[in-house]
Symmetry: C2
Subunit: 300 residues, 2 copies
Amino acid sequence: MYDFSADSADCARSVEAGLSDYLSGARLSGPGPASDRVVEAMRHGSLEGGKRLRPLLVRQAAAIFSVPRDLSLPAGLAVEMVHCYSLVHDDLPAMDDDDMRRGRPTVHKAFDDATAILAGDALLTHAFAMLADPSTHADAEVRIRLVAELAAGSGAGGMVGGQMRDIEGETSGFSEGDIAVMQAMKTGALIRAAVRMGAILGGAEPRALSALTAYAEAAGRAFQLADDILDVTATAEAMGKATGKDAALGKQTVVARLGVDGARKMLDATVNEALLALRTFGPKADGLRATARYFAAREK
Amino acid sequence: MYDFSADSADCARSVEAGLSDYLSGARLSGPGPASDRVVEAMRHGSLEGGKRLRPLLVRQAAAIFSVPRDLSLPAGLAVEMVHCYSLVHDDLPAMDDDDMRRGRPTVHKAFDDATAILAGDALLTHAFAMLADPSTHADAEVRIRLVAELAAGSGAGGMVGGQMRDIEGETSGFSEGDIAVMQAMKTGALIRAAVRMGAILGGAEPRALSALTAYAEAAGRAFQLADDILDVTATAEAMGKATGKDAALGKQTVVARLGVDGARKMLDATVNEALLALRTFGPKADGLRATARYFAAREK
């Protein structure tokens, strides 16, 4: 029987240990010695916190193909570094201007804006360095496919493009379709990349990859819906970051359109859609099933 | 006989055309359609300008191993995208706060700070996407080595680490050794990566790779020395960007320590060091030789 709490806690511990090990001057040196200040800021922006859901999705997707946990960890760390870099840049005064993240000062508050920009850049860069490292996977073909997948999920047609659309919408307004596209890119694309990277590690056939992609896209929508609902219903204390921001900005989320109850119903339907995409997989997909259900139930 | 002007002009045209082709909504789409605004800002930050020296170095190093020009172009484009992203972020108000670049408004002036941050992030991300694309090189092993090389050159132990050290030095002061390390990382690391990526494309043996690395490190120092000299001697009009900034910031460059004449002597010696590293290569290395000499002679 799959135990979500145990697996997610174990994954979070592995991610924390893996990032702490990797984000060190010794590991990040290149032609020159790594800058201590950048390394410290990278650690501040990525250690001690977060639910590590994206590495969990990599692990759970890989588990369908019986990939051992330690073999899926590097890909999970790379996705998490991209997630963390995006938060560091998102929090900057020129973007969301957030002072707190996970109950601690954001990187630009703990350091300064220039350091936060550079630390974000370095986290993104070293995510790809991690995937390219031959010690993480013997097959260069698999490693380069992971690079391609992560880049597609985090670039102009993925996460970064979604962030840009979000900012544009705040000033010029969104149609319903715009919101769906923006959210699918801003948060969905990296969740999709995480699941697909697990499948690539497992050598998934096209049909399986396609089913897992459908799962990931529905799961991503569920995650975003839950986030929008929590922005309305949760306290800043419980979330460890400011809430009520969407409403304050007049952001046209699904919750603003349907109300909390309507959004919760849509969330349940979306989770069911994710589960349906997994119907051809056996109990080895119970991890992914549990995570989709968790998205609907989470309280922070 | 190698013709530097013709080859560098041809390379610059190829880079311009290659970037213009690649930086389009169609090519940058991912799970979602690329954001038009991000694509426009990426184009603004990378097209119509620059000497394209890094792609030229990739091409010239690859030429030693008889790699056709079109096969070395994608790696050159990837290095150039990383160079351009670093300029976009460097120009931000939180960093160097430059309004003009190559005689045009910087990206954050033409758009806004948030867009410049995201466009820089996307240029970096798509540099790796470019290298991962199977259409650029048949061998996954070569593609992933290029990813590793570019990431090492541009990360915390390379370019980004050098930028951080530069900012730290402005506030806390530099020793002579600090300046050397900072410059080797800030500008040297990407030049080094460009040359090594050309060598990797050519399947260079360890001894040849080592000689080319020595060339690249000396050439990088020559490039930086020339830049520091030009910061003192050239006009803003000729450079297309502000000059005299180093002195205004009290930055302890080699020129500040040795004077312009002393720095020019050191530049000549450094170019000779670069040429010496190429002694075992025949006329096919004339491109790299010409570029090293160009560094000493350039006027902008």
